[in-house]
């Protein structure tokens, strides 16, 4: 019989979706049986107490978790999120239930053996419950006790060759799309730069000295599979400067119905014959495509690289050859101020090892500005709003560019500075008085 009665949680299992309650029960059973003879280092019935305290929260309509803590591994200010429950007598198994963020490999590639190894470690030294992956991108280990933290960190570092991820007022674990490993739309090697910056900025990842969190995310193309534009303080989005490559024979094959649009993704239903005018040309947001004598034409100067036409006809249309990325600053979730998308700060930059230009001209000047001027718990996007985009241009030294304008008349106040005006602000008073009386 279950350790705690959980009628409210049990009811959740009756819905049509996979249920975390069922998953927890599965882990409860597996820990109780312990067929592998694991020497559990935290209470064997931790998952039962987890269900128990959640049931109590449902009953009370309030949480029984406290906020924050001093726990960590020595010398690291992030990676461990201390969690204590406020009913430790009733639920001793979850008196401590700390979360560990473990850095995921770039592109999230694993061998089966590696996955088994991290699960074995966590079975023994934690609750066995993981979140693969958190919305941060990390491997999330859910629930362990304070004495286990250093042990797990040692195992991770020495045997599994993985580091803790970022939490708190730190650089967060950089994350990327699968990129060139599997995707022909990747305009740069997202995994290479993600890994390089993770290693380069170890100090920023582990020792908090920022006003608040800071995220890098890398998308190989504007499809934005890791949604960098919506949630990274600096988003790196692949793009190209030259023309979309067109294979007119393949265009004709799509029009003739020999090739299924969208790689066959919409094959589950009969949508009628493919209509290139309706489904591609009319949907181009910049209206820069047309048919001419059965051939598809693109005015590339107008194209904003929205990816729509390429997504629909991947065999016919390909990304250009002169590739790099655009960099956007200041995206964030709505926690303090409103939600914000990234603002374009670098229209195009080549993404080439050792990435010196990106580090020295973009990342580091922005950090210096934000570390000095940012208020406590102020994200980069909020500082940009408070001091203005003009200030961001000033600290990075990038020239204003029409592509940075999101919409006209958003902010009509652009003030000249004296050194930008020919002759400065001084005037010849005698010359002035020739035209104006006192």
């Amino acid at each position: 019989m279950a350790k705690h009665e959980t009628p409210l949680l049990d009811q959740l299992e009756s819905g049509p979706w996979p249920s975390f309650v069922s998953d927890l029960k599965q882990e409860i059973e597996s820990r109780a049986k312990n067929e592998k003879g694991v020497e559990f280092q935290i209470p064997q019935d931790v998952c039962e107490d987890l269900l128990g305290i959640l049931e109590l929260s449902y009953k009370h309509g309030r949480t029984h978790w406290k906020h924050g803590g001093i726990v960590g591994v020595f010398g690291y200010g992030g990676g461990v999120i201390g969690r204590y429950c406020d009913q430790p007598e009733m639920f001793p198994g979850v008196a401590h239930f700390h979360t560990m963020r473990v850095s995921q490999p770039a592109g999230k590639f694993y061998t089966t053996k590696y996955l088994k190894d991290i699960c074995d470690l966590w079975e023994m030294r934690g609750s066995g419950l993981t979140n693969m992956h958190g919305s941060t991108g990390d491997i999330i280990f859910l629930g362990t006790t304070t004495p286990q933290l250093e042990e797990i960190f040692w195992e991770l570092g020495h045997n599994l060759h993985q580091d803790l991820g970022g939490s708190g007022s730190n650089l967060r674990t950089p994350s990327d799309c699968v990129g060139q490993a599997r995707c022909e739309w990747a305009c740069y090697d997202t995994q290479a730069i993600c890994h390089d910056l993770t290693v380069e900025y170890q100090d920023e990842l582990h020792r908090p000295a920022f006003p608040y969190k800071f995220k890098f995310k890398f998308d190989g193309c504007p499809n934005c599979c890791v949604a960098s534009i919506a949630r990274a303080d600096l988003s790196f989005i692949g793009t190209w400067r030259d023309d979309i490559r067109i294979d007119q024979e393949a265009v004709a094959a799509y029009m003739g119905g020999e090739l299924p649009p969208n790689g066959g993704a919409h094959a589950g239903r009969d949508w009628g014959p493919f209509d290139i005018q309706k489904e591609v040309i009319d949907l181009c947001p910049t209206k820069c495509m047309w048919l001419e004598g059965g051939k598809l034409k693109i005015e590339n100067r107008e194209c904003t690289r929205c990816m729509h036409c390429i997504n629909v006809m991947p065999r016919a249309l390909r990304i250009g050859n002169d590739r790099g990325c655009s960099i956007f600053a200041g995206a964030k979730a709505p926690i303090l101020d409103g939600a914000q998308m990234g603002s374009l700060i670098v229209p195009f930059i080549k993404v080439e090892e050792p990435y010196d230009e990106i580090k020295e001209k973009v990342i580091e000047p922005i950090w210096d500005w934000w570390m000095e001027e940012g208020k406590n718990r102020e994200r980069l996007g909020e500082l940009m709003k408070r001091q203005g985009f003009q200030k961001l241009l000033e600290v990075t030294g990038f020239k204003p560019d029409p592509r940075m304008v999101q919409e006209p008349r958003h902010n009509p106040y652009i003030f000249w500075k004296e050194d930008e005006v020919e002759g400065g602000f001084k005037r010849d008073i005698n010359e002035f008085r020739k035209f104006h009386q006192r």
């Binding site: 906020h67 924050g68 001093i70 201390g82 204590y84 708190g168 908090p208 208020k375 406590n376």
Partner: protein, 79 residues
């Protein structure tokens, strides 16, 4: 700034405010040191290494305190 001098400043500064609060933002410490963030960070890191300061984290925000001080440490039997 010399490390020992910085340490003294931080210990004095935080001890003085101890009655009101026990956890401080990085910026508060940089202000006490009257140093730019990057210089302050080196000194503060060393204080953590030596066990003068310790980290506190809510998960989203990090703070610093003199080791073993504050309500949280006491309430959770970690002092």
């Amino acid at each position: 700034m010399e490390y020992e001098e910085a340490k003294q400043k931080i210990v004095d500064g935080l001890t003085k405010k101890q009655k009101v609060k026990s956890k401080f933002y990085f910026n508060d410490l940089a202000k006490i040191l009257e140093e730019k963030p990057r210089v302050a960070k080196k000194l503060i890191n060393q204080m953590v290494q030596e066990g003068v300061l310790e980290y506190w984290s809510s998960g989203s925000t990090s703070m610093y305190g003199l080791k073993g001080t504050g309500k949280q440490a006491h309430a959770e039997h970690e002092d």
